[in-house]
């Protein structure tokens, strides 16, 4: 019996040491949950989720105050990624917060701009350059398409246009499994 006890004790100590070593070697990412969630959000800073930016939304998700499907720019892919991170079931995008749109950027019509700087103050990523009574322009490379500059503009001179994207060849159809749609 002594032998049995000592063997089991030795086994337990060996396995425990192994777990300690594994814990040190395979340490998970130390980043806080909010940071990890924020890294998955598209950083549009549009506030459509109901929070004043992506980081506050990430904080809210981490605190359990918000659901994962409130971000329209992230779309269904974003919801899937968040579901994967948090280990919950993915759900469809909550369209009461907005529709998922293809990437857009703001464009100021320079003929109508009056140089009031209201849009400059509204932009969450400082993507509009200009000065009082001087021309305002959106820097396309930095515009996130959040649409926050449109409401403040007193002359409504800002339009939203499609962001030019690189060409993506279409995905071909897979194996010969035809999908027959029954006539209604």
């Amino acid at each position: 019996m002594v032998v049995a006890i000592s063997v089991l004790t030795a086994l337990v100590m060996f396995l425990g040491a192994g777990l300690l070593w594994a814990g040190k070697r395979l340490r998970p990412d130390e980043t806080s949950l909010t940071e990890q969630i924020n890294a998955l959000l598209p950083q549009t800073q549009c506030a459509q989720c109901g929070f004043p930016g992506c980081r506050p939304y990430a904080q809210a998700i981490a605190d359990g105050q918000a659901d994962i499907n409130q971000c329209p720019p992230g779309g269904d892919e974003g919801v899937q990624a968040l579901a994967g991170l948090l280990g919950v079931e993915p759900k469809p995008l909550d369209t009461s917060h907005g529709e998922h749109k293809p990437p857009i950027v703001a464009l100021i019509d320079e003929d109508r701009c009056i140089g009031c700087t209201l849009c400059i103050q509204a932009c969450p990523v400082d993507a509009i350059i200009g000065a009082p009574r001087l021309m305002h322009t959106v820097i396309e490379a930095e515009c996130t398409g959040c649409e926050l500059c449109l409401p403040p503009c007193p002359v409504d001179c800002i339009d939203l246009v499609d962001r030019p994207q690189a060409y993506v060849p279409p995905k071909p159809a897979s194996a010969a499994i035809p999908i027959r749609v029954r006539a209604a």
């Binding site: 060849p169 194996a175 010969a176 499994i177 035809p178 027959r180």
Partner: protein, 342 residues
């Protein structure tokens, strides 16, 4: 002038699935002929029944799953499954053995896993394993080969035995004989020494009577497939070299207890497996090194089951057990990509 566009490459590929499958069938013809010469008309009816049920089940499953029937029926893959199955069956096995085998092979192993290209286990071997377990008696009674037999049953007698399942019209005890591997196992259980067991007439000088020719025919067909490029060398080499190597080591450690390596190769279905079963692309490993490991594993498990297991021939179980390891093997035998330091 305007033109239609499509993505490169613009030349249509030359290879086709049905071409591959048909070549496998051609390579099996010598083996089938040898089988007929050695064991008589049984193989003809086994083939008919197996292929018939296989096509029937394939058609039923394709209809049930709403897949294009003509495309998948004409790719010959299920015919290959059926022919290989028939070659593993005793010549006089009744028709329901093939029916159950094809049910397991086509319906369960192939279609319930997703159909062509998606099955995890080798369909033929699933069928063989199922009937080995379900019909142990029918599977253990082989005919004596022509050189040993008092007389193989004729065409009509064979038909009656297989299609009705009754054997009263035959002198059953005289014409049936256990296989060499079966004799080795029962003899070992009776504490007989291997050289004594091998005195039985079903053994030949370096293998098994009659079976020698069949195995040589399989070898010829397999080598032709290799030359044609239909199969690659890694899997057959793994099986055969491991059998010879391990078989020799065992034999040298005790000629009384272990059969010779040539007997390991020539009795049972290791050579058939090496060239036709282990090389099944869908359920085998995807990487070249993985195929080698797969072949080695099949041979090791088969030899172990033959020697220490409860079945005379362990090829079916060896293949199925290695099928289970294929995803793991694939993960760890990826080739090194150009320019990537791994």
């Amino acid at each position: 002038m305007e033109f239609s566009t499509a993505g490169a490459p613009h030349l249509p590929p030359g290879n086709r699935v049905d071409r591959i499958m048909r070549r496998v069938l051609y390579a099996l013809i010598p083996g089938i002929l040898a089988h007929w010469l050695v064991f008589g008309w049984g193989i003809v009816f086994q083939l008919t029944v197996a292929v018939g049920f296989a096509l029937l089940f394939e058609w039923l499953m394709l209809r049930a799953r709403q897949r294009p029937v003509r495309v998948f029926l004409s790719d010959y893959s299920v015919v290959v499954t059926a022919v290989l199955f028939a070659l593993c069956m005793p010549p006089l096995a009744p028709w329901w053995v093939a029916a159950v085998g094809m049910l397991f092979a086509v319906v369960i192993a192939k279609h319930l896993y997703g159909g062509l290209g998606y099955n995890l286990f080798n369909p033929t071997m699933v069928g063989v394993a199922a009937v080995i377990i379900a019909f142990p008696v029918e599977l253990s009674l082989w005919l004596a080969p022509r050189s040993v037999s008092p007389g193989l049953p004729g065409f009509l007698d064979t038909a009656r035995a297989i299609l009705t399942g009754s054997t009263g019209h035959l002198d059953y005890d005289a014409i049936t004989r256990a296989t060499p591997l079966d004799l080795l196992r029962t003899g070992a259980m009776d504490q007989l020494r291997t050289p004594e067991i091998q005195q039985d007439a079903v053994f030949s000088r370096f293998g098994a009577a009659g079976w020698d020719w069949i195995v040589l025919a399989y070898l010829a067909g397999g080598l032709w497939l290799l030359q044609q490029g239909v199969i690659r060398w890694q899997a057959p080499t793994g099986v055969i070299l491991t059998t010879l190597l391990v078989g020799s080591l065992l034999w040298l450690s005790g000629t009384d207890v272990y059969p010779s390596p040539s007997l390991q190769l020539f009795a049972g279905s290791l050579v058939l497996a090496a060239f036709f079963i282990v090389t099944d692309p869908v359920s085998g490993s995807a990487t070249p090194r993985g195929r080698l490991i797969f072949g080695i594993g099949v041979a090791l498990i088969t030899l172990a089951i033959r020697q220490w297991g409860g079945f005379p021939d362990g090829v079916a179980f060896g293949v199925l057990l290695m099928n289970m390891f294929v995803p793991l093997i694939d993960r760890y035998t990826q080739p090194r990509v150009y320019g990537v330091r791994r």
